[in-house]
Symmetry: C3
Subunit: 678 residues, 3 copies
Amino acid sequence: MQSSKPILYGGDYNPEQWLKYPEVLEQDFRLFEQASINTLTIGVFAWAALEPEEGVFQFEWLDHIFERAMRQHMRIILATPSGGKPNWLAMKYTEVRRVNELGQREPQRARHNHCLTSDVYRDKVSIINEQLAKRYGAHSALEMWHISNEFGGYCYCDRCMAAFRDWLKAKYTSLDALNEAYWSRFWSHTFTEWEQIRYIDKTICGLVLDWKRFMTDQCCSFIRNEIAAIRRDSPDVPTTTNFMGTHPDYDYHKLAQEIDVVSWDAYPMWHLPQDNHESNHALNAAFRHDVTRGIAGGKPFLLMESTPGQVNWAGVSPLMRPGMLRLASYQAIAHGSDSVCYFQMRKSRGSWEQFHGAVIDHVGHANTRVFREVEQLGASLLQLDSVVGSLVSAKVAIVFDWETRWIYEGVALPSNAHKQYAETILAHYKPFWARGINVDIVDRQADFSKYELVVAPILFMLSDSLGERLTDFVKAGGHLVTTYGTGVVNETGLAISGGMPGALREVLGVWVEEFDALPDAYRRQVKPLDDGKCGLTGVYEARHHLDLVHLETAEAIAVYGEDFYSGYPALTRHSFGAGSAWHISSRNDDRFSDDFLGYLADELKLTNISSSTLPQGVSVQTRSVANAEFVFLMNFNDSSVVFELIDGIYTDLETESTVERTIHLAAYQTCVLQRRLD
Amino acid sequence: MQSSKPILYGGDYNPEQWLKYPEVLEQDFRLFEQASINTLTIGVFAWAALEPEEGVFQFEWLDHIFERAMRQHMRIILATPSGGKPNWLAMKYTEVRRVNELGQREPQRARHNHCLTSDVYRDKVSIINEQLAKRYGAHSALEMWHISNEFGGYCYCDRCMAAFRDWLKAKYTSLDALNEAYWSRFWSHTFTEWEQIRYIDKTICGLVLDWKRFMTDQCCSFIRNEIAAIRRDSPDVPTTTNFMGTHPDYDYHKLAQEIDVVSWDAYPMWHLPQDNHESNHALNAAFRHDVTRGIAGGKPFLLMESTPGQVNWAGVSPLMRPGMLRLASYQAIAHGSDSVCYFQMRKSRGSWEQFHGAVIDHVGHANTRVFREVEQLGASLLQLDSVVGSLVSAKVAIVFDWETRWIYEGVALPSNAHKQYAETILAHYKPFWARGINVDIVDRQADFSKYELVVAPILFMLSDSLGERLTDFVKAGGHLVTTYGTGVVNETGLAISGGMPGALREVLGVWVEEFDALPDAYRRQVKPLDDGKCGLTGVYEARHHLDLVHLETAEAIAVYGEDFYSGYPALTRHSFGAGSAWHISSRNDDRFSDDFLGYLADELKLTNISSSTLPQGVSVQTRSVANAEFVFLMNFNDSSVVFELIDGIYTDLETESTVERTIHLAAYQTCVLQRRLD
Amino acid sequence: MQSSKPILYGGDYNPEQWLKYPEVLEQDFRLFEQASINTLTIGVFAWAALEPEEGVFQFEWLDHIFERAMRQHMRIILATPSGGKPNWLAMKYTEVRRVNELGQREPQRARHNHCLTSDVYRDKVSIINEQLAKRYGAHSALEMWHISNEFGGYCYCDRCMAAFRDWLKAKYTSLDALNEAYWSRFWSHTFTEWEQIRYIDKTICGLVLDWKRFMTDQCCSFIRNEIAAIRRDSPDVPTTTNFMGTHPDYDYHKLAQEIDVVSWDAYPMWHLPQDNHESNHALNAAFRHDVTRGIAGGKPFLLMESTPGQVNWAGVSPLMRPGMLRLASYQAIAHGSDSVCYFQMRKSRGSWEQFHGAVIDHVGHANTRVFREVEQLGASLLQLDSVVGSLVSAKVAIVFDWETRWIYEGVALPSNAHKQYAETILAHYKPFWARGINVDIVDRQADFSKYELVVAPILFMLSDSLGERLTDFVKAGGHLVTTYGTGVVNETGLAISGGMPGALREVLGVWVEEFDALPDAYRRQVKPLDDGKCGLTGVYEARHHLDLVHLETAEAIAVYGEDFYSGYPALTRHSFGAGSAWHISSRNDDRFSDDFLGYLADELKLTNISSSTLPQGVSVQTRSVANAEFVFLMNFNDSSVVFELIDGIYTDLETESTVERTIHLAAYQTCVLQRRLD
């Protein structure tokens, strides 16, 4: 059973930098033991150490690390080294270096900048991966394969463009179909030979969308190629690759199909100034954890990287205040992580990340504030074995979809300055997070039927089939919330011609004629038709984007209160089948979202284990297994808070003592309670 | 007579995008009729549809459009397609694509980016133009030829540079003369071979000036080449090309010599935040309309493009409030337009401008707010036939000169951060606009003798002959106003050596020794010597640029009130011959311009048909024919206004009823009165 | 003796621009005489005039200038023309043009953009230099050689990269040593062939540091090459090259080794808005003068360029208020300059600097405000012969070190947004400047033993030997002040591993564990342990960077007053040997620096000839010779001030009258007093 596994605790370690200092390596392992570190990620960026010359391999140092780790029962996550090209490879085979949008081939520098298409690169990666698999693929210390590192970026070389043309031929069969899909007669951009597709013209929105789909597919095939080389000698060890939250380059939902375990690198900017409240960092982090769990299909994921101290690549990176490391780590687990891993175990002495936070600092001993916090956290995590493998159960799904975002951000609209796709999704996530209600973040292809409520903000791209699935969802008793910017284009970016919101028009019962775009400083009133109706009271403020909506079969709940569209519907409800469908016409203030979505949460009895009025900055999340529920309580404030839990019997997982329902949490405090469900 | 012609009403239409949807085309024409649309601009960017392969032409679809338009008595403005290159052309003949300043050839993308020099491009354009002329040049529905689209931008390819060298040889004959003109001994930039002129070095100000003159000439010759191809089979149909207001790239006064009718594309940013008052958008639009009429030599022009809704290329583009479309359209006519044309008749389904405003939206029917406003406007315009061909008569000219702007903006000055050429001209235009006084905007080569008052702000570049012409103008009784930044360089950008303002020193009676440059937040007092003199009262604020002026034969009217130049002349008057010459030493606040230029307007009895104290945001303009005057009354406020007209008998052109002299206009209301002159 | 020499007064003159206007040249020389101008810098950017075609020389015009200057006993500083390449050279030998970081060769344009490595360029420079030396090297009017102009910038061409590799081979001998020094195993950047070093990867901090060292050496060798060509025929005439204050590109301390006399170009932005107080411009200028004197090893330097009016390359350049020209010029002399030279003597008529301030304006006569001020200043300077050659004597040294700045600015730190190296040094200089205490600005290789106090802010890069030298300095009775950011990396940029501040840990008696990085708006309290101790009273504010310090053998003087590090040392003192060592943990407000460094100044009796409480904006500096001291009094306020000097007998150098100790200075007034030391 999974419950016998511990939380993986450790992170990125680069012994290849210290081969001349065996005493350092030895000291490191002593310190790992002291801090209850049980897992090391080895080999990220180690290619030059593993294959210093083409075809010449050097594994002795890695053998030693495996042995040394074994000795103290540590697990190893072994990375394939493709994230960074050795100089000999980049210089001899220039094709492996990326070409930018202007057609310039990049010099060898930095990292994460190889062409995904290059056969040479794929072959060289296969060779080193095979060697690694042959030597370590069956090693008992091997926990997992870590495929490359933080995939991202595009290459525009001739090879990539040729592969793209092949991809397009397979998709469209004829140029006629492609021209139709892109509406490329506009500005005389009609393609009359496949060879004419040589650049990514930003003004052809459908082309840009397909390019990003292609680049995603190309990354998938690159990953497949990496894994194939491993599988010959390591058929069963699971694979992962580390994602980056909502990073826009590739559709992570597709990449996730290629690997066994989803993991990600979380770097919230704790303590930096934030609009409104410091806890917005926690909100952001929570959202990205949930995005990642969504990518993992709801299964537990791994926190693969996080900093135990400061980062060094931001403008300003404050020290994490005492307690923050533990709090941030528990938050990851609360949202579904089965690990707490760091970048990096020991600070490198030189080069770009020498001042990035690490478990072991340049000073090299255990007597540092950071090490002590890492050590204490390690001890605490030993109490959480029972959480490993447990699941987050949610009745609410929010749609965050890569392709939707790409086309929405790629087209030119009257409201260009204020698109804010990710921020908008986050704004609709916040009311649930603030109430301690678990949420799944899914893409547009998710199975909606298992949810009671689906919130799909700015569902800009809408196919008939998606419209149908959402309609069926409502018909069957589900509740759907959509917003401005919904049902505007089809899946190749063509405007929907029958009137917005296209295939959702029936279920929503509205027609969106046009929308106003307001400068940032402008506001328009939104008012409930009856004060108090559906949780709405008083006057709200709309900004940026305001749909002008005509009721068809829906009813208005709120309306605009000024301008020539005063009285136009601002919130509509349509009872449809066994469910209901709601449309929010404008980007409103936080109070609106909180009141309205809070109302829905109450109506649908989504309220979770906490009372619905948690103090600001407090988060409550639950994970559960068959017979138990784990309740994570987290205070992201720098002051103490008090709040109540609902009925139940609660035991603190660390102290194993029973806990009162009235919870007191000190500044930055967190704890995990087990709630008996009987 | 011209009065038998209607206002042209219609705009850009791209049926080539909808050839697979004949029902859409049919619907469009029905809607055109419903909205009294009488004119379509066809063929802009249609090259790929007309010539899908090199030398293979396809005109059936266009034949159909001509026939369909004829059927409902519509006129066609036929565009040559050179604004957008088909892919086959751009790929096969790489020379047609522009080279940027860094020497990089652009990929095929977007539009308006062909080399003006390329023989291949000129030839290919000639071929398609000839084909079009042969087929449609004598068609009875053909109203006008629309040459290419929105010319702009520079190419730095070897062909362009070679042509530039030829142009320079023709102008300067010897390198010695060129070196002298550019003062290129500075920094050892002396040219000793013509071939050395291969880059446009921004630090050689005279070279940059000549480059822009050359690019203007190259565009003229490109246009001539286009028209020559048409004229073989269409000798009499007038030509136009659509300008863009004060767009800086080419000298529109020169381009206008090549075509028969001047037209332009107006996209005011109605409703966006503006300094001071929303009506500044109207001021800006009025100014650009008058600039365009100036380019047309005072003749009526065409409004070739405007949006019936929103644009989609701005950061934020609000909906046009009810009434704004009519108001903006009447404003164009008030300033001399004989048309109201839109981009675009139907929204394209895809690509870059799919969300740009259009008469017919994606929804495809007449039941939209925008379509209804277009339809109502169409009905109104039917009443304005008598306005067509009438002229705007002005006693005031303001100089806005492309070459002056180029050299002023190109040189390095102590006040680089605050040059603001166009804004400065506008600031001197505003007091007349606010009083309902017609103004001509002319370039420095205009015939000044027909005006009573010439205002020439920042006449930075001053030849002896221009100085002479302005001196003669004053001598003969004219009144001249100049400002800081006048008479600084000659026509190749060399500093005037005898003391500023050079050839205007005698007529102005001042010597400008030097000027202070102030940071944006700084101000200096300006005070009349006698309060009330020449309309000036109290203390004004000068900023940015302050000439330190010595009186020679002029008298001071106002002086600076502080700093070490306290008491130096801030406004001078010189009675000279039968006229007077005034110099404004500094950039002053709006109140100064309003008081002083208002004073001149009163003195010269320039006050027009309205009283001089129009409410803010109200504009009054007149057009006239032999026996009638048309008075346009426009309220750009979102609230109602009341004001008085001067004596006369007024008839509303739409209602044909007599109107009282006390005018009430609702928010955004406009009307046209005919005033009997007997 | 040196005292027989006058202050050099004059500046850059470009007669080659006016060869067709002999009357202009003649007029210029008359005006020079009128203004007591005694020195002309000729030939800067005159290459095209001297060698219009390859190998064809033209010296007659320069002969004439030498003769004409001789006639009125003027001295000539003759420039080698390498700062600007003639077109014929740049076009024929493309290798002389720089290649940028992207590998693109620049077009011929602007100036100061030749490859420092190109053999062709070095040869061509040698040829023209030899010609100049042959003709003028022994001319009795020749005062000095001015090597090129304002060296700066980097070239990344293949020749430069090859030379860099040779430089690296000589430095490191083996790639193994280089890889160790750069810690290049990080991200697999290990170099396995020398040829792989072809780009300057910004992420390899040690490589970037070496690149800047190499470029400095390359510039030194370029200068040596220039001088070698001169020395054959002009063995004794001193050389200079004009520096630019704290310009970051090359280590000026190294460049200074190649020339005889240090000079610089000073362009303070007088009168522009400044934080806090207008006199910050004076502070900045003072600092850069002292930096330059430090580069000159304490010897007098030359002010080679300054503007007599406005500059034209800034966004806004106000007129210099009456008196400012004299004040700024005297300030240069006060800090060690033996000259007042201008760019430029006459405004060029065209090209990029035609509106840059000059002694003679375009109007061409003497009747301008600027000329009159230049003339009056010339007359005054005649009284200052006795100052020439006198020295600035200082007991305080502040370390400003190019290499330290390079590595500090090049690495990625948690406080990237707030590095502010130069600003930090300046902040520690200000308290001394405000007290009229002379300061030497030195680099890290200076001989500290001659100072009583050494302030070394952000001594980020620390070798063992530098640590030892500073330790010895303290042991021997010196006083050392260090700050946050000290002792972090070694001389190849590797992090110091034994605990910060490395080799200064013993003498400072502290260990710096980590540091907090705060957003700009954040502050933390700093409080003395006992109010009044070491000059500290009340609460100070720390920002940006806060070391968390542990006392080892030092004592805390002040501590942080808040956050989790409340009570941690903010200022420490360690009595060590015969001296003391102080560490400032955080970037504090100006009041802290003023109180603490003012306290040290009092303790060490550094107070100079003025009382320690000079009015804000007043500067007092001294220069001295064997038997006399010259006291420069400068009021940078636009209002008058009064203050007291210490005991002594003071004579005004200009009026030769005795002066009371109570000094009254009008706005912008300055004077020089001689103080008898007997």
